[in-house]
């Protein structure tokens, strides 16, 4: 895919981060200079910082290791395509399960009261835009060689990034991209016990990248439930810190109260017998509950989860 001209290039020195406005159709390249360096990444909508990259919302579809051609979305209820990963080495280890490292982690684990960490690094970078430490969100971690076991515990293994490896991120709408050199890598294995610089480039939109952003938004940004602020019940951003209930507040939950209606289901003797045995074995509270579960499981299996909306077709590149 042909990008526009490079409009920005700089090198992030250890340990720092930089908020970079990247506009629709533009591409940020994050490149290893010497290799073996973990990179944390945040992103915020330039039009409304309350819309930001939400990797947790992407996990049900992408799993926890996004790869080339995956689309990363903003936070629900916006849930708009935000980033397209248009280039990434096959062996670039990503991780969107682990939270960025933070200061207290180093104090507890290693006794540091001042140690570089991604929470503080990103906080400092986004302060340029008047964002606070509370605005740092869950990170998309690049070159984060983690291993998760079946108990949900994880460990960091050797960083496998090579010099020259790069990741290209397409902006689907105008946003502040914030790449950060991970601050854990000198005393943890995250970056093989030494910090290294990272090169950042931004390429202007080309006809091809603009078209790609358009196609992604046309396909994956068209749902009625992708809400905008004007659809929010509370539209303004709270300006004080203390919480207090709104007098007389009445919630309006979706489809509340849910209305259950009984449907008559004719079962054969064999089917009823099976349902009774399943209920007796604990699969359901009673025969009706077993029938409902069985039907819903069949319905789910008949409609395999469609993941197309979270992937960029190769033909679009």
């Amino acid at each position: 895919m042909e990008y526009g001209l490079r409009r920005l290039r700089f090198v992030l020195q250890p340990v720092s981060a930089k908020g970079v406005p990247v506009y629709r159709g533009e591409v940020m390249r994050i490149r290893q200079v010497l290799g073996e360096q973990c990179v944390d990444f945040n992103a915020f909508s330039l039009a409304d910082y309350k819309e930001y990259m939400d990797v947790s919302a992407c996990r049900p579809t992408l799993g926890f290791r996004p790869c080339k051609l995956d689309i990363i979305y903003s936070n629900p209820p916006r849930f708009r395509p935000m980033l397209g990963i248009v280039e990434m080495p096959d062996d670039c280890a990503t991780d969107i399960l682990g939270k960025s490292c933070h200061a207290t982690l180093f104090e507890i684990a290693q006794g540091f009261t001042a140690h570089t960490n991604c929470q503080d690094t990103i906080s400092e970078a986004i302060a340029e835009y008047n964002l606070t430490p509370d605005d740092v969100h869950h990170s998309l971690n690049f070159w984060m060689n983690s291993e998760w076991d079946s108990r949900g515990r994880y460990e960091i293994v050797r960083n496998s990034a090579r010099a020259g490896d790069y990741v290209d991120l397409l902006a689907c709408f105008d946003q502040l991209m914030v790449p950060a050199i991970c601050g854990s890598g000198d005393t943890m294995l995250t970056s093989n016990f030494s910090f290294k610089p990272i090169e950042i480039e931004v390429f202007a939109a080309s006809a091809a990248t603009s078209r790609l952003a358009d196609r992604i938004m046309e396909r994956s940004g068209r749902y009625q439930t992708q809400r905008t602020v004007d659809q929010f019940r509370v539209k303004s951003i709270k300006s004080d810190r203390r919480l207090a209930p709104v007098p007389g507040f009445q919630p309006k939950f979706v489809n509340f109260p849910l209305e259950t209606i009984e449907v008559e289901v004719p079962l054969s003797g064999a089917e009823y017998d099976a349902a009774e045995r399943l209920a007796a074995a604990g699969f359901g509270r009673d025969v009706a509950d077993v029938v409902r579960k069985g039907f819903m499981l069949w319905r789910s299996s008949r409609r395999p989860r469609n993941r197309d909306w979270s992937r960029i077709p190769v033909a679009w590149l």
């Binding site: 054969s268 099976a274 069985g294 819903m296």
Partner: protein, 63 residues
């Protein structure tokens, strides 16, 4: 229990679940009423779980 016996079970579904049942019914291959659609899906699920629905009763693992 003979398989020729028909036993009607009343199964509760909320409006969201009924929307799925209706969509399944409109797809046309599972039955013409909601009850038939649910029975069809339930029977297919039993089969997928290894239940053998003999004429003279069901056999299979209880879970």
């Amino acid at each position: 229990m003979s398989d020729e016996t028909v036993i009607v079970v009343r199964v509760g579904f909320n409006q969201q679940q009924r929307e799925l049942i209706e969509r399944t019914r409109k797809e046309g291959d599972a039955g013409s009423t909601d009850g038939e659609v649910i029975r069809f899906g339930f029977a297919r699920w039993l089969e997928s779980e290894g239940w053998c629905l003999h004429h003279d009763g069901a056999s299979g693992s209880a879970l």
